[in-house]
Symmetry: D2
Subunit: 143 residues, 4 copies
Amino acid sequence: MPVNAKIRVNFYDTDAMAVVHHANYIRWFEIGRVEYLRSIGITLNDLMEDGFVFPITEISAKFVSPGYYDDDLIIETTATELTKVKMAFNYKVYREKDGKLLVTGHSQNVYTSRETGKITRLTEKYHKKLEEAIKKERDENDV
Amino acid sequence: MPVNAKIRVNFYDTDAMAVVHHANYIRWFEIGRVEYLRSIGITLNDLMEDGFVFPITEISAKFVSPGYYDDDLIIETTATELTKVKMAFNYKVYREKDGKLLVTGHSQNVYTSRETGKITRLTEKYHKKLEEAIKKERDENDV
Amino acid sequence: MPVNAKIRVNFYDTDAMAVVHHANYIRWFEIGRVEYLRSIGITLNDLMEDGFVFPITEISAKFVSPGYYDDDLIIETTATELTKVKMAFNYKVYREKDGKLLVTGHSQNVYTSRETGKITRLTEKYHKKLEEAIKKERDENDV
Amino acid sequence: MPVNAKIRVNFYDTDAMAVVHHANYIRWFEIGRVEYLRSIGITLNDLMEDGFVFPITEISAKFVSPGYYDDDLIIETTATELTKVKMAFNYKVYREKDGKLLVTGHSQNVYTSRETGKITRLTEKYHKKLEEAIKKERDENDV
């Protein structure tokens, strides 16, 4: 089930072409996956307190149509992989008022230990929530 | 022939994981392609004065190893496609002091008319320079 | 009457000290004054369509206490001057959950013509709304 | 003796008014003071390794004239106070090609302990360098 986050384009998000600078969408994908994780009961602060960090390993985006100052945008986030060692998400960014698709994207990140900096496996506490969420995504897509 | 640009990681480029936030590399790819174009005699200001804008249509990146505050980074940019309607570049970001590869990436952008916002073709003045550059890239890779 | 805007601190807003990088508050002041103007019926898009731009001429801030990742912040904006040629605002940024004051600030901007780049006077349409708003601020402070 | 740092305005530094967004100068002041400190033999990495962080407590800026895409800017930084507990700097940002003054500013920061988060005093190792530098600044201004 996709999770929606909403943001408004600020003046400082625009560039001299009078559109949203494309790198901002990469930042906003982060807002999307944070809200996805929150919706299944996981926060980055909890992960960090338990010694996990979550560096992005891959990102991609297609920019379909420009966003403008003061647009309200919907960041729709769907999990595509949620395991003990990595997470992957798909993103769709829409303009709220006309439903226009502006950007699609994908990200992948791994879990690493804050202490050692090495790739690590999530504890069961987190893994259980992620497993349930990805199962739900797959069941919905099977219907 | 790859063109190198150099940047230093600022404190404001880091995040609470004490590494460079990944979205900054997407911004730095821009520095790379701007310097590539400058090296073949094309500036964005000239393009804009002639009525062209150059929205990014696709971006992707793999984050191999983290960058840290005060690192000097080399952004190595190679053109992979330079036509009348679009440009595509590959990027490699290295840390200067140890030569470590931090990030690889790719971008594609099209040309649009500032006035109409529609996709347009570059004039011969620019096309000639781009054609020569991409020919050179291919000749070098053939060797 | 102060106008409140609400933002959530993103991971990309933090720096390697694990707190909000101070320059972000300067960006967020913009969110504050945009919402203030919207509350009195003025949008930046309307101003730009009517040929006005609104460069910031002065900014100042005191950073009282750090903001952290995932904090919900309240940006409280009060107008201190709203004339045909300039606007000035005071800002207070609080953390919502404990009411702690994080930052105070002030900004001033002038109106310039998009066409000439020179300082200009707002038309009556805007001036009337601004005059009413500042009168209200003063009446409230007099009580 | 002022220390100069040089930066080039990127496309992503501009906003829809086709000028540098003002909040970027606040970030660039950081580049200025980092280079000032480096010039007297102090790096932020050394400070952090020794357990010091250096939150900004005050910032102010006057925006005199707009910066544009691809401008080469000089950030001229002068120390005004360098004690065991705080540092203060003045900034002037010039465009290199015409020497035009774009922005002036001031910042102040304190030293805090990474461990306790509380204000702390620098060790003699750093204090000695700072004392020499500020003495030099004063001697030069007295001439």
